[in-house]
C-alpha cells in the first residue's frame, strides 16, 4: 500500500487491464449498439436498450453475490480481514448503482414496448425489493462505529439478505400467479437474436463486468486509504492530547 499512496491514484497494472478491456468493449457497444446492429423485427429500435439493460442487470446480480461471499469471508474467516468487508461494501455500492441503471433502462424499454413504465410481475418486483434491501445495507454501513463494528453489522445484514431475497421472490411469484394476465407481457421481450446483436450483447456483458471489476478495485482501495487517514487522524489527535499534559 505504501508505494501506491505516493502516486496520484490507486490504479495498478491489474486495474489498468480491466480499464482497457472495459473501454474497448463499451466503445463497441456504443458504436455497434447504436449504429451497426440491426433493429429488431418486432421491437424496432427500442431493442437497443437491451445492450445496456441486460449487462447492467447481470453485473448488479454479480455484485450482490460478491457482497454476500465477501461478507461470509469476513465473518467466517479466521483473521476477519477488513479487506473482505471493503470489497463487500464497494461491490454493494457499485451493484446498487448498476441496479438503478437496470431499473431505469428497463422502465424506459417497458414504456416503449409494453406502453407502461412498470409491471408488477415477479422479476421486476423482486428486483425492486433487492434494490431497496441493498440501499438498507449501505445505510447500515453508514452507521457509527469502528471499522470492525461496521464490518460485522453489515456482513450479518448481507448474509440475512441472501436468505431473505429468495423468500421474497418466492412469495411474489406465488402472489402474481394469482393474477394471470402476465402471459402476454413476457419480460424476455421475445428477441430473435441476430448474430451481430448477440455478439454486441456479449461484448456488453464482458465490458460491464470489466467496468465492475475496475470500479470495485478502485473503490475498495479508496476505502482502505480513507480508513488509514481516519486512524492517523485519531493518532494525531491523541498525540496532541498527550502533549498537552506534558510539563514544559
Amino acid at each position: 500500500m505504501g508505494s501506491q499512496a505516493t502516486r496520484s491514484g490507486v490504479g495498478t497494472p491489474a486495474t489498468r487491464v480491466f480499464g482497457v478491456i472495459a473501454t474497448l468493449a463499451l466503445g463497441w457497444v456504443v458504436v455497434g449498439g447504436i449504429f451497426v446492429t440491426p433493429p429488431d423485427v418486432v421491437q424496432g429500435e427500442s431493442v437497443r436498450i437491451m445492450y445496456v439493460h441486460v449487462p447492467t442487470a447481470w453485473v448488479s446480480y454479480l455484485a450482490f453475490i460478491v457482497t454476500a461471499v465477501a461478507s461470509a469471508g469476513y465473518l467466517f474467516g479466521r483473521r476477519h480481514s477488513l479487506g473482505f468487508d471493503r470489497v463487500a461494501g464497494a461491490a454493494a455500492q457499485v451493484g446498487v448503482s448498476f441496479m438503478a441503471l437496470t431499473l431505469i433502462s428497463g422502465s424506459l424499454w417497458g414504456r416503449l414496448t409494453w406502453g407502461t413504465f412498470w409491471e408488477w410481475d415477479p422479476r421486476l418486483t423482486t428486483t425492486a425489493f433487492l434494490f431497496v434491501t441493498y440501499l438498507g445495507y449501505l445505510a447500515v454501513r453508514g452507521l457509527d462505529g469502528t471499522p470492525a463494528q461496521r464490518a460485522k453489522r453489515s456482513a450479518i445484514v448481507a448474509l440475512l439478505a441472501v436468505f431473505e431475497i429468495p423468500l421474497v421472490h418466492f412469495s411474489v411469484v406465488l402472489w402474481r400467479s394469482l393474477h394471470q394476465e402476465a402471459s402476454v407481457l413476457s419480460t424476455d421481450g421475445d428477441i430473435k437474436m441476430d448474430d451481430l446483436m448477440l455478439f454486441t450483447l456479449l461484448v456488453g456483458v464482458v465490458g460491464f463486468t470489466a467496468l465492475f471489476m475496475w470500479l470495485v478495485s478502485h473503490r475498495q482501495r479508496v476505502m482502505a486509504l480513507r480508513d488509514i487517514v481516519e486512524s492517523r487522524r485519531i493518532d494525531v489527535a491523541m498525540a496532541e492530547r498527550v502533549a498537552e499534559g506534558t510539563p514544559l
Binding site: 465473518l75 425489493f129 431497496v132 434491501t133 440501499l135 438498507g136 445505510a139 447500515v140 453508514g142 452507521l143 457509527d144 462505529g145 463494528q149 460485522k152 453489522r153 450479518i156 445484514v157 448474509l159 440475512l160 436468505f163 431473505e164 423468500l167 421474497v168 418466492f170 412469495s171 411474489v172 406465488l174 402472489w175 394469482l178
Partner: protein, 235 residues
C-alpha cells in the same frame, strides 16, 4: 450450581420486557391509539366502503407493520438506555435466550395489537371471519395466520432491532431495513386474511398455502436469529 435452561432464561427475559411494558404502558397508551388512528385514516383516504371491506386484511397488516417499528424501537430503547443490554451480556446471559425472550415479548405485544386491530376492522370496515355462524373454518384460518405471522414479525423485529440498537441515526433506518424483509409476511398474512374474511370472493382453502409461507418465514428467521443474535450484540 445449576445452569438455567435456555427456556427458563428466555421466559425470564420475556417476562421482564412485558412487565416493563405493563408498568410503563407505552405500547398501550401510544402505539395502540396510533394504530387505531391509522385504521381511521385509511378510511378517510380510501373513501369507498366496498373497497375498505375488500382490502380490510391488507389495511390491518399495514397498520400492524407501521406499529411494529415503534414497538421494536421501544423494546431496545429500554435496554440501551442505562446499558442494560451490555450489563446482561457481561453477566453471562445466553444471547440465544435473550433473542428468544425478546422475540416472545415482541410477539405477545403484537398479538394484542392485532386482536385490537381486527376488532376495529370488524367495526369500521364491516368484515367478519364468521359470515355465517355454522362454519369456523375462516376463524381457524385467521387465528393460525395471526399466530404464524406474529411469530415471524417477532423474530425479524428483534433481530434487526438488535442489529442497530445503540447506533446513532437508527430511528429512520429500522423501517428501511425491515420493510423489504417483511414483504413475504405482508403478502402471506394479507392473502390468508382475505381468504379468512372471504373478501372479494376469496375462499378459505386458498389461504392455507400462504400460512405455509408464513411458517417457513418464521422458521428461517427464528433459526437465523438464534445463530446471529449473539454475534450482533457482542461488540
Amino acid at each position: 450450581m445449576s445452569h438455567p435452561s435456555l427456556g427458563s432464561v428466555a421466559l425470564a427475559i420475556a417476562g421482564k420486557d412485558l412487565r416493563i411494558e405493563w408498568r410503563s404502558r407505552v405500547v398501550i397508551n401510544q402505539v395502540l391509539p396510533f394504530s387505531g388512528l391509522v385504521m381511521v385514516m385509511f378510511a378517510l383516504a380510501l373513501d369507498d366502503d366496498a373497497m375498505l371491506q375488500r382490502t380490510a386484511g391488507g389495511l390491518v397488516w399495514l397498520a400492524t407493520l407501521f406499529s411494529l417499528f415503534m414497538i421494536v424501537q421501544r423494546s431496545y430503547a429500554v435496554d440501551t438506555q442505562d446499558g442494560a443490554l451490555d450489563a446482561m451480556r457481561v453477566a453471562g446471559v445466553d444471547m440465544q435466550a435473550m433473542f428468544l425472550g425478546k422475540s416472545l415479548a415482541l410477539a405477545a405485544q403484537l398479538f394484542v395489537l392485532e386482536v385490537v386491530l381486527f376488532a376495529v376492522a370488524m367495526v369500521l370496515y364491516r368484515v367478519s371471519p364468521l359470515p355465517d355462524e355454522s362454519t369456523l373454518a375462516g376463524f381457524v384460518l385467521l387465528v393460525t395466520t395471526v399466530i404464524c405471522a406474529t411469530l415471524g414479525l417477532g423474530f425479524v423485529g428483534t433481530l434487526y432491532g438488535g442489529l442497530i440498537a445503540g447506533a446513532k441515526g437508527r430511528d429512520s433506518l429500522l423501517p428501511l431495513l425491515l420493510l423489504p424483509v417483511l414483504a413475504p409476511v405482508l403478502l402471506g398474512a394479507t392473502r390468508a386474511t382475505e381468504s379468512a374474511l372471504r373478501s372479494g370472493g376469496a375462499v378459505v382453502a386458498e389461504g392455507w398455502p400462504w400460512v405455509a409461507v408464513l411458517v417457513v418465514f418464521a422458521g428461517v428467521f427464528g433459526v437465523g436469529g438464534l445463530l446471529s443474535f449473539g454475534a450482533l450484540i457482542e461488540e
